[in-house]
């Protein structure tokens, strides 16, 4: 395969999106944890909750900062890599993008007030500051996902002689795929935050590393996890039904369905290549039911779709398997954790997860990210070969400039450096007492009482 401009541009865009979506879910989910922790401190008077929020604050700052710059990269790359797409779509889906700009701006402002406001405002005022952060971060996700949804189910315009006319920005924003993508995509952030914070604490507790109120932190994170993961699975079912209805070709690729048939089976696992999904566990008629709530409903197969209009079914199907598999594993781990806690809560007030549960919790952090990234892969690979589904092909949207491969290599290196630095910085965190908080002044005193 030749590494031409189209492939380089797709690789760079994909790389930037993957990098960005390591930070954004935490930028959305961690504020919720801060809101809960500071709220609990106010309600119960237990200062350990507040100390938790204090300990998380610099982590939130760091992750948000890297998320913000990687988001700037994306806003540039839309023009640098896909000028024809932006020329076509900018005026149609501009509304959610500009609203996202406002929401993100609001989040940045209140997050700054939160981070730097620890010793400048009352505990109550500081808790209040978390509210606009939680709301605006969730809203910015909803807005930006709505733009993505439009690429999947474009609405709110007509094309006459190759010209876009009769634009209705609101119709474009609230397109058919908007609701299910927004719910599924935003909930994913809370899932990732719950499990990845829990993973960090599980690891610290298991290795007996010093950390501020680790047991309480684990409980809080798992509380978020256990609420969000079942909701997410329900939302996923809803999303699958919408995709089956709105984008049957994508649905066929997701499920490795080649023949159009009634009573199609659900395929778990399997490798769809050359017109056949091999090695899959098939559950009769379940796919028809999941897609259309009818065991005998007809499901479109890829064989009835022209080759040039099909997505890559192998990548789409495997991504879906990873997402669904990880999702159910997360549900199981959350259930295991709370069941283990519930059984021992009276007998052992200082209960800590045992070895196997600890490992499962550590794994859940990785699984949650795998599920989130794989979920985006399903949406994006499944949309191909279109950038605007049914209207504009990705190959027609790409820049005519050369040398994109050079920038792909450059950004890969840059992201590798940043990722290494980030891992180094985060690994030193929980047991790095040489934090600025130790310096003299009010901030220092509070931090010492924390440590």
């Amino acid at each position: 395969m030749e590494f031409d401009t189209l492939l380089s541009a797709r690789a760079l865009m994909g790389l930037s999106l993957v990098f960005h979506t390591f930070f954004t879910p935490l930028g959305i989910g961690l504020p919720l944890l801060l809101f809960i922790a500071e709220g609990m401190a106010l309600k119960t008077g237990d200062q350990r909750y507040r100390q938790l929020a204090r300990a998380w604050t610099p982590v939130v700052g760091l992750l948000f900062a890297v998320g913000a710059v990687s988001g700037t990269v994306l806003s540039f790359e839309l023009g640098l890599l896909w000028p024809r797409f932006m020329e076509y779509a900018g005026g149609i889906i501009g509304m959610p993008f500009s609203l996202e700009g406002f929401a993100f701006f609001t989040e940045a402002i209140f997050l700054a007030i939160y981070i730097y406001g620890w010793n400048r405002m009352s505990a109550f005022a500081h808790w209040l500051v978390t509210i606009p952060i939680v709301i605006s971060s969730a809203l910015s996700a909803v807005f930006v996902i709505s733009a993505n949804a439009w690429m999947n189910t474009p609405e709110g315009f007509r094309v006459v002689d190759g010209q876009v006319v009769d634009v209705d920005p609101w119709d474009a924003m609230f397109n058919a795929a908007w609701l299910h993508e927004a719910i599924h995509g935003t909930l994913a952030s809370y899932v990732v935050t719950g499990f990845s914070v829990a993973a960090v604490y599980a690891w610290l507790l298991w290795r007996k590393k010093p950390a501020v109120n680790a047991r309480l932190g684990l409980q809080l994170a798992m509380a978020v996890a256990v609420v969000s993961i079942p909701l997410q699975i329900v939302a996923g079912d809803f999303a699958a039904r919408r995709v089956a209805e709105l984008q049957p070709v994508k649905f066929a690729a997701m499920e490795g369905q080649y023949e159009t048939e009634r009573g199609a089976p659900l395929r778990i696992g399997g490798i769809p290549v050359d017109g056949e999904t091999k090695y899959a566990i098939e559950i009769p008629k379940l796919l028809s039911y999941l897609g259309y709530r009818d065991f005998n409903a007809e499901v479109l197969g890829l064989n009835d779709v022209p080759k040039e209009d099909r997505p890559n079914e192998l990548l789409t199907h495997l991504s879906l398997q990873v997402m669904v598999g990880a999702g159910f594993a997360l549900l199981f781990i959350a259930g295991w954790y709370w069941w283990a806690w519930w059984r021992r809560r009276k007998a052992e007030p200082g209960w800590l997860p045992g070895r196997w549960l600890s490992w499962a919790l550590v794994a859940s952090g990785f699984l949650s990210f795998a599920a989130l990234q794989a979920g985006w892969f399903v949406t994006e690979f499944g949309r191909q070969p279109w950038v605007v589904y049914g209207y504009l092909r990705t190959s027609e949207a790409v820049t005519e400039r050369d040398g994109i491969l050079v920038f792909f290599v450059l950004f890969t290196l840059l992201y590798v450096v940043i990722s290494i630095a980030l891992i180094v910085a985060l690994l030193k965190w929980p047991h790095g007492p040489k934090q600025p908080e130790r310096l003299p002044g009010a901030a220092g005193r509070e931090a010492e009482s924390v440590a």
């Binding site: 890297v66 023009g79 005026g91 501009g94 609203l99 402002i109 920005p169 609101w170």
Partner: protein, 337 residues
């Protein structure tokens, strides 16, 4: 005024805001790189502490500008980004390196190797990025980019390496250096304040000289733009800007510390404003006017309607942020967050 013109005004305002806030932010990195003398470390710490709470916000203006461009002027966004992809990619590398480096230094362990290396990355990226943005502004203004409809005809190096573009790059750097130093004056005391005051005076003189020299350079290298410089409105804007610059210099000279930052900011807004007026009616000089580049009327109007509603939330929030963090004087030795 047509909605398209109003939207172009919004885009210009976003450039102004980015220059006034983001510019000072880059300037902090420039002075960090150029820190010298016995108070080298204090200078760096004071700069870092001043930037800390607001650096994120400072750069959202850039996102607002990009969003405005692609929502309201999608053709201009596509053409400018395709034509100038090389400098824009370079600026992007600078933005990523700078943002990440600042975050590592600011939130990580101060005495680690990571923090020291981050400072280097941060400082150099603070020079690279505004310089490259200056080149882009110069290229957009210079009139050397050839376009047919929305197709770019000229090569990847057209327009942004000429004398006028390089001049704009230099002005970009000087704007940043001037603002950062001027903003630091009321926020520091004693010898440290004197350091920043001297730097602000030097930068203001250099900026004045560079913007003056830019006029004959434009006449030679950016004819369309230069042709607009004798419009009455542009002349008036340049005169007001020159007065503001002199007032800022006077405030610095006579140690009116509280007056220096607003006057410096107004001067920079004036420079950007005069540039914008002379650029009218083009978004890309000689190639694309704001009318040709605009999206459908309904999109432009919706954007203009969303703007004040969004501002209703944004403006008080921003005020709260700057009010909370700009009141106190910074001393080099006290860094806490």
């Amino acid at each position: 005024m047509s909605p398209e013109l109003a939207a172009a005004g919004v885009a210009l305002a976003a450039v102004m805001m980015y220059a006034m806030f983001g510019g000072a932010d880059f300037g902090g990195g420039i002075w960090s790189l150029l820190a010298w003398g016995p108070r080298k470390q204090e200078q760096r710490l004071a700069l870092e502490k001043a930037i800390g709470p607001v650096w994120e916000t400072n750069h959202v203006w850039l996102i607002l500008l990009v969003v405005t461009l692609f929502v309201v002027f999608p053709t201009a966004y596509a053409v400018i980004f395709e034509a100038l992809y090389v400098p824009l990619f370079i600026a992007l590398v600078g933005i990523v390196a700078r943002g990440a480096a600042f975050a590592f230094r600011h939130y990580g362990q101060r005495e680690s190797r990571l923090a020291r290396q981050s400072l280097q990355w941060f400082s150099w990226a603070s020079v690279l990025t505004p310089f490259t943005f200056g080149l882009v502004i110069g290229a957009v203004t210079g009139g050397h980019i050839e376009v047919d409809g929305s197709r770019v005809l000229s090569g990847p190096f057209a327009g942004w390496l000429g004398p006028f573009a390089l001049m704009c790059g230099l002005i970009g750097l000087l704007i940043c250096a001037f603002l950062a130093a001027a903003y630091m004056v009321p926020r520091t005391e004693g010898a440290l304040q004197e350091d920043f005051r001297r730097r602000a005076i030097a930068a203001s003189l250099a900026l004045g000289a560079a913007t003056t020299v830019a006029i004959p350079v434009a006449a030679a290298d950016a004819e369309v733009f230069a042709g607009h410089l004798d419009d009455a409105r542009v002349v008036a804007a340049m005169a007001v800007t020159a007065m503001l610059g002199l007032a800022a210099l006077w405030a610095l000279w006579t140690r009116r510390a509280r007056l220096a930052p607003p006057l410096a900011a107004a001067t920079v807004a004036g420079v950007v404003g005069a540039w914008g007026l002379a650029q009218h009616p083009y978004l890309l000089a000689n190639a694309l006017t704001y009318k040709e580049a605009a999206a459908e009327r309904i999109t432009v109007v919706s954007f203009l309607v969303a703007l004040p509603i969004g501002s209703l939330i944004l403006v008080p929030s921003l005020w709260l942020l700057y009010w909370t963090f700009s009141r106190e004087t910074l001393r080099g030795e006290e860094i806490a967050h």
